[in-house]
Symmetry: C2
Subunit: 203 residues, 2 copies
């Protein structure tokens, strides 16, 4: 069975190709998923199709923080208990979910939808930086917590934004770096250990 | 994040439920697939939807062997080089694919679409046994190779069909049983070893 044909016919072969594009789905899994679709009741397949379609129709960006939501304002931005003067800046919508799961942040978020990457043609105008600046003005933001990825691009993006806000009276912080809670020192790499030593805290 | 809600809204929560029904897809994978759909271009999502829909519209049962195909006759039944007097009986369409992959069978197939299971209300009329009997008559089938699963139900189904064909001049055989090629004796269970001993072959 090669990649273009399937004993059942080209429609199954094409569906396997579609599934194989999905993250974590190899060829064998894609074949198993296609077999599952073949065996599905028509009504169940219609329900799956409708669920995909509905996500594509409903999901949009929150008008304030650019996180993903089905409403004009996401649940966090529309929650009056959340501190709008404390804003955590992240690269991707899913980062909001991860940080929210920690339950440790009383503020609101701002999703950049990427990080600066001049080599790939991603400049500040491709991110939601302008909207962040307006928001800082309008909401009287007092602290920005930079939670971009600890990578060259993520750190560069955080630095760029912090430079923009020089002398604007906004406190700029970033997530603490060090050893991972629950991990063992043996497996920490030297950057993690250097961060942990630099940022050592009183016991 | 519980099973009914998702920070992006109910449409994503529902899509996660749909993906979690798929074989080999756990909760975490389903969330990752839903995230993939959220991030997909609209045109790619439309293409995925269309591929699923097309499978459900195109795939049907071969009129002769009941394997799955997009045409009236499957590729095997419509191939004049395949021996229509030698028929291999299997439970599921995917068994045809497995046996074809061996390249060891010059005949045609017959897909029962299940096995007899009186406790679950699956009697002979729910399988394609009548169609098999007609085919044996019409095509002058001389040998039936029983390739049902080596389970209680599979063996019982093969026995039932072979009893129906008593004194009809059709040779009935079944797949050889023994140790698996490429395996080690140490891991063979006692049924496999008993089969291998009973069916021992001249060296």
């Amino acid at each position: 069975m090669d990649e273009q044909t399937h004993p059942y016919g080209p429609s199954v072969a094409r569906l396997i190709e579609e599934f194989a594009l999905m993250p974590g789905i190899g060829r064998k899994s894609a074949e198993r998923l296609a077999q599952y679709v073949v065996n599905m009741k028509k009504s169940s397949a219609a329900s799956l199709i409708q669920a995909i379609d509905s996500v594509k129709r409903s999901i949009r960006r929150c008008e304030v923080c650019h996180a993903l939501t089905e409403k004009e304002l996401c649940d966090i931005c529309s929650d009056p208990r959340r501190d709008r003067t404390l804003v955590c800046v992240v690269e991707q919508p899913k980062d909001v979910i991860s940080l929210e799961a920690s339950g440790a942040f009383p503020g609101t978020f701002h999703v950049l939808h990427g990080s600066l990457s001049p080599l790939n043609g991603i400049g500040p105008e491709k991110l939601t930086i302008n909207s962040l600046l307006k928001r800082i003005e309008a909401d009287g933001v007092t602290e920005l917590v930079m939670a971009t990825n600890p990578t060259l691009e993520g750190d560069g993006t955080a630095l760029y934004i912090s430079n923009l806000l020089d002398n604007r009276g906004v406190r700029i912080t970033r997530l603490a770096r060090g050893i991972a809670s629950g991990s063992v020192l043996e497996f920490a790499n030297k950057e993690m250990l250097a961060d942990a030593l630099r940022g050592r805290q009183a016991f």
